[in-house]
């Protein structure tokens, strides 16, 4: 990618450090073990996780949080298993996603997961599954008790966390830009 130095954000490394704790992006020595094992790098030539760590060190916050690339990571944790410096791209990308979401940039289609968690206490909803032969299957069909969960109690506890605000903010989401 072309470097635009004016886009540098000097506090980005500090911000990621705040989220990562002891995992310091500056410790990365660009050995490339992460990228060489990355499944997304296999199918997208422009996704190079070690470069995301490098761009973070360079403070390219604007580029990183507004673009789609950080949302490509499939979180398979292969880079975590491989990283010799304990600062795998997964961890850095995780921190960047939090910063992106805080700034209002997050991909679509994820609101319903959170909404379902809030409403039903599960990210999936109890359902009647209709099979190819039009038979109806539920938990009860297989002899399981109904999935009654104490959603009232959960909501009451979570009301004091950031969750209600997050759900509100997701509705006002800004669009993430596509990478060329």
């Amino acid at each position: 990618m072309v470097l635009v130095l004016e886009q540098r954000d000097k506090v980005l490394v500090e911000e990621t450090l705040r989220i990562l704790g002891e995992q310091d992006p500056l410790a990365c020595y660009q050995c490339n073990k992460c990228t060489s094992g990355c499944p997304i790098a296999l199918v997208r030539q422009d996704f190079r996780p070690h470069l995301i760590v490098q761009q973070t060190r360079m403070g390219l916050k604007d580029v990183l949080i507004k673009e789609e690339a950080i949302w490509y990571c499939c979180q398979c944790l292969k880079c975590v298993a491989r990283c010799p410096q304990k600062v795998a791209p997964y961890e850095v990308i995780f921190a960047l996603r939090i910063l992106a979401a805080e700034a209002g940039y997050s991909p679509k289609n994820i609101t319903k997961l959170l909404q379902s968690f809030w409403n039903n206490g599960m990210v999936t909803t109890p359902m009647i599954i209709v099979t190819k032969d039009f038979a109806e299957v539920t938990r009860q069909t297989l002899g399981l008790p109904a999935p009654v969960v104490d959603t009232e109690g959960l909501r009451k506890a979570l009301k004091t966390t950031k969750l209600p605000t997050i759900i509100e903010n997701l509705k006002k989401r800004k669009k993430v830009s596509k990478k060329d």
């Binding site: 938990r139 069909t141 399981l144 009451k156």
Partner: protein, 320 residues
């Protein structure tokens, strides 16, 4: 070389309980989409003479929304602590049937150990609903490691042997890689599932993309469907190339992706043939003789499991 890496964490294995009462931690995908996984887990425990306790108070582990960074740390911590507090009233050990749930519980323990003040904070949050969580009161075990420990006993109890059927195992990302500190095998070249397959009479298949993600990529299925499908296609093609009879997974999300994506890939003409996918609990329950529809719930799978069951039965009859 391979043998050098075959190190099972014996110390942990020793501690896995083979006695009840055990609690089965409910997972979102298995509870509502593939209920057969939970039903099979119950039947396996029943066959081993282990009692099961249950509650209707447990919610989602909180992991999916947190690991995909759409919820917050305090939400995640409160959700896990509340679940622990619910379960510690009825059991001291639980079995986890999903990699993400296992990862969530493990991660919770790890960060509350690193930052003890979080324990106080999180108990303040759940005290508002009259709950309190006690650290370490409930121990949790992955169903795959539990089955690994019980494999010999299960092999004695099964009604059908795999008789050399070719099984491609898929470990998933969030048990071995995310929980290296506690998992029973190493994340880079694990073999414990192959051992289970061999013990049950099957032939584990070597395939190129064994350590590739299923394509779920946590939220990838929602946010970058095309990328997700490309990964899944790569995985499944590599398994079909080795002529496997079944894909064996240990996580309901992996099951959902590998099972459903095959139909999409077929429509997109990326795949010519299909291969059945089962969760490890479903395979064991099948071999123990439980009903494919009434217990395994194979009728909800989009990729038919019957070709595998037919092969299994054919082999069984040949053996007499």
């Amino acid at each position: 070389m391979g043998d050098l890496l075959m190190v099972i964490n014996e110390e942990r294995l020793e501690k896995i309980p083979l006695e009840g009462p055990l609690y089965i931690f409910k997972s979102c995908v298995s509870s509502n989409v593939y209920p057969g996984i939970e039903a099979c887990t119950r039947k396996i425990l029943e066959s081993l003479g282990i009692s099961v306790v249950d509650t209707d108070q447990q919610t989602c582990c909180g992991g999916l929304t947190y690991f995909t960074t759409i919820s917050s740390e305090d939400t995640f911590l409160a959700t896990v602590a509340r679940n622990f507090s619910v379960i510690e009233e009825i059991a001291s050990d639980m079995l986890v049937i999903c990699n993400t749930c296992f990862n969530a519980l493990h991660y919770f323990e790890k960060i509350t150990e690193d930052f003890p003040n979080l324990k106080v904070k999180v108990n303040e949050v759940i005290s508002k609903i009259g709950r309190n969580y006690n650290e370490g009161k409930v121990r949790f075990w992955h169903i795959a490691e539990f089955i690994y420990k019980a494999k010999d006993e299960l092999a004695r109890k099964i009604k059908f042997k795999l008789n050399g059927l070719k099984i491609a195992v898929h470990y998933g990302c969030r048990y071995l890689r995310a929980c290296q500190e506690v998992a029973i095998d190493n994340p880079e070249s694990p073999t414990f599932l192959e051992e289970v397959v061999e013990t049950l009479g099957g032939t584990p298949v070597k395939y190129k993309e064994k350590d590739l993600c299923c394509g779920s990529g946590k939220m990838q299925r929602y946010t970058a469907r095309d990328l997700s499908l490309q990964i899944t296609a790569r995985k499944i093609e590599s398994i079909i190339n080795e002529d496997a009879d079944l894909i064996l997974v240990v996580c309901p999300s992996c099951l959902a992706v590998l099972d459903n994506a095959q139909m999409e890939l077929e429509i997109l003409e990326r795949l010519d043939s299909r291969i059945p996918v089962l969760h490890i609990t479903q395979l064991i329950a099948l071999l123990l003789g439980f009903d494919p529809n009434e217990t395994l719930g194979i009728q909800v799978h989009t990729t038919p499991v019957t070709p595998f069951i037919e092969k299994l039965m054919e082999n069984a009859t040949e053996e007499g």
